[in-house]
């Protein structure tokens, strides 16, 4: 790899949508790196810009109604400035995506097999017979019983979990090096969620691919991710390894997320603590820190919180970034003395 560049490197990615009401800043200056074999979890509430970011990396955006800037380097190639045709050839091939609701994400009029065969044939100049064999093989690998028969079924004939497996088979049919999973388990029931997460974990190990998991479910992140990026209002507000984020988080928003997460590993649980307020509009972000209106510690910033936008700076741990006005020692103190005991007492 040239000059020590990571397999996937996103630099200052901005995706804006001009609308009649103003500019929607869905992704506003995101930067992160990801190596093959590693998993990045992108966490945030609905409307924090997670999905737009993932579609941006895939190159799926309408140039007529969106503005994209920044750099996305994939395996030494820059994608943002590359031609649409170049990116199309990478899409589904070198980088692939798994979507949230597999029923609506699969075409109702084509068989599951047809849709996988189609994905394979776009990038491989092979006969339908060969592609079909490959599709059946792939369905078997994601754990669909009797794949040679189910290949001719329509999506509506599959159960929810089976559909998500088929969706994964479709995404993996070309052995992608980067796989983006957008809320892969949200539409599934809990037991199936666990199966799908195991499956994704195993397949990632098998293919040695880089995996981005986009979710609002910290459980999924805890299960799969090596690194975690917390998004709020289109920006990264905290970044670090999964253990850092779960054990020494420094951003009040991340504390809030942890507090609102059900913990099955804790014996007593009174109530979940919601984060007050609602996510900001991506058009009119609050002055200063985007999280300030919902932040309990905003008064301690001495007015900075509502006036100056905070920068993403190094936090306590190594490779740990946070976007907060509170001084590092103060954040660490609040976490250790106030937030953590409360979470553990829950």
């Amino acid at each position: 790899m040239p000059d020590g560049q990571a397999f996937l490197e996103v630099k200052d990615l901005k995706i804006h949508f001009p609308t009649d009401d103003g500019l929607v800043r869905s992704a506003d200056g995101l930067s992160f790196k990801l190596e093959r074999g590693r998993t990045l979890g992108i966490v945030g509430e609905s409307g924090s810009g997670k999905s737009v970011t993932s579609l941006g990396i895939m190159g799926i955006y309408n140039k007529r109604n969106s503005q994209i800037s920044g750099e996305i380097w994939l395996d030494g190639d820059e994608i943002v400035s590359a031609g649409q045709e170049t990116v199309r050839k990478l899409r589904g091939n070198k980088l692939a995506m798994i979507f949230q609701d597999p029923l609506s994400a699969m075409h109702p009029y084509y068989t599951v097999g047809h849709q996988i065969i189609e994905a394979y044939q776009v990038h491989h100049n092979v006969s339908k017979k060969v592609a079909r064999k490959h599709a059946i093989d792939m369905l078997g690998r994601v754990g669909i019983p009797q794949p040679d028969r189910r290949v001719d079924d329509y999506p509506h004939q599959f159960s929810g979990g089976m559909r998500q497996r088929a969706m994964i088979a479709m995404a993996l049919v070309n052995d992608p090096q980067l796989l983006i999973a957008d809320e892969p388990t949200t539409a599934l029931d809990v037991t199936v969620q666990a199966q799908i997460m195991d499956l994704m974990h195993d397949l990632q190990a098998e293919f040695n691919s880089a995996l981005i998991v986009i979710t609002h479910d910290l459980g999924v992140v805890a299960e799969l991710a090596d690194d975690v990026l917390v998004m709020y209002g289109g920006k990264c507000i905290e970044y670090g390894s999964a253990s850092t984020i779960f054990e020494r988080p420094e951003h009040p928003y991340t504390w809030g997320l942890l507090g609102s997460m059900p913990r099955m590993d804790r014996p007593t649980q009174d109530r979940l603590v919601p984060i007050p307020g609602s996510p900001p509009s991506l058009i009119n972000l609050p002055q200063g820190c985007a999280f300030s209106p919902r932040c309990a510690y905003e008064p301690q910033t001495g007015g900075l919180g509502t006036t100056v936008p905070p920068e993403l700076v190094r936090a306590g741990g190594s490779n740990h970034l946070v976007r907060c006005h509170l001084p590092t020692e103060e954040r660490q103190r609040i976490w250790a003395e106030e937030v953590k005991p409360k979470l553990e007492a829950q």
Binding site: I60, A96, A105, H107, Y154, H156, Q157
Partner: protein
Amino acid sequence: MITYIIRRLFAAVVLLFIISAATFSIFYLVPRLVGSTPETLATRYVGRAATPETVHLIAEKLGFYDPIWLQYGRWVKGIFFGADYDLGATVEHCPAPCFGYSFITKTPVWPDLVDRIPVTLSLAIGAAILWLIFGLSIGTLSALRRGSFLDRAAMTFSLAGVSLPIFFTGMIGLLVFSYKLGWTAPGGSYTDFTESPSAWAYALLLPWIVLALQFSAQYARLTRAGMLETMGEDYIRTARAKGLPERDVTVKHGLRAALTPILTIFGLDFGLLLGGAVLTEQVFSLPGLGKYAVDAITNNDLPKVLGVTMMAAFFVVIANLIVDLLYAVVDPRVRLG
């Protein structure tokens, strides 16, 4: 699938019977409600010069005194076994399928209908091909370039197309293209396909275009609306994520899904047209079912009107049946659901 087909076929047959009964009742009861008697009905067939005795006799022989259900039964029987009409001086035989006998032209209705079906069929098929090609492609392009100049121009044009009646566009078309420029055939020059395919196409060219104009406009709007909806679906995003060329995304995934509701409307429209493109045939003097119906109505020739109405109903029901069956082919969810 087989039971589905059988069920639909059975429903279609029942429907045709209901329609025939209703139509028959309307055509034989309504005149009576407004004052016609069996005698006045018979007068229409034997002429005013006949004596009241003759009129009474004919009315009796033709069964005009019988109750409505008996008359209907006789009419249905005629369809399957043929019928004889005793006109006093002569007995006219109307062979099966006898859809009535016109006492004005002294001919059975069925052979007339058979003669005219090819004309209407030629008109409808040609126009349908044109309007599907233009309607679907304009609608699709409009949806993809939503808000562009092309979209606005196409939608304005199609609003005009929907709004302008055929007797207007047809007349203007005839005036400009046939009489001034001489590019297309004047009205009333229909030639059978078997006689001369080129003369056939030449005579039908303008009617096809005029008829297709109105439908293209309507189908362009339908397609545009459908495409705008389907192109926002999740499976379109999936198709893009696979790396499919945009062309395949649009046609194989977008249009494929948008076509389903259009198919239903097409079935109805096409069936209706087969029953007679009344205005178009009238404007261009095409001897099809529509013109036949207009002529029959102007002449107060009830058996003909009844016959052509049944024919039209038959086409609509059959077209719907075919659409229902096609639906199962087009949308796999219908098959098991």
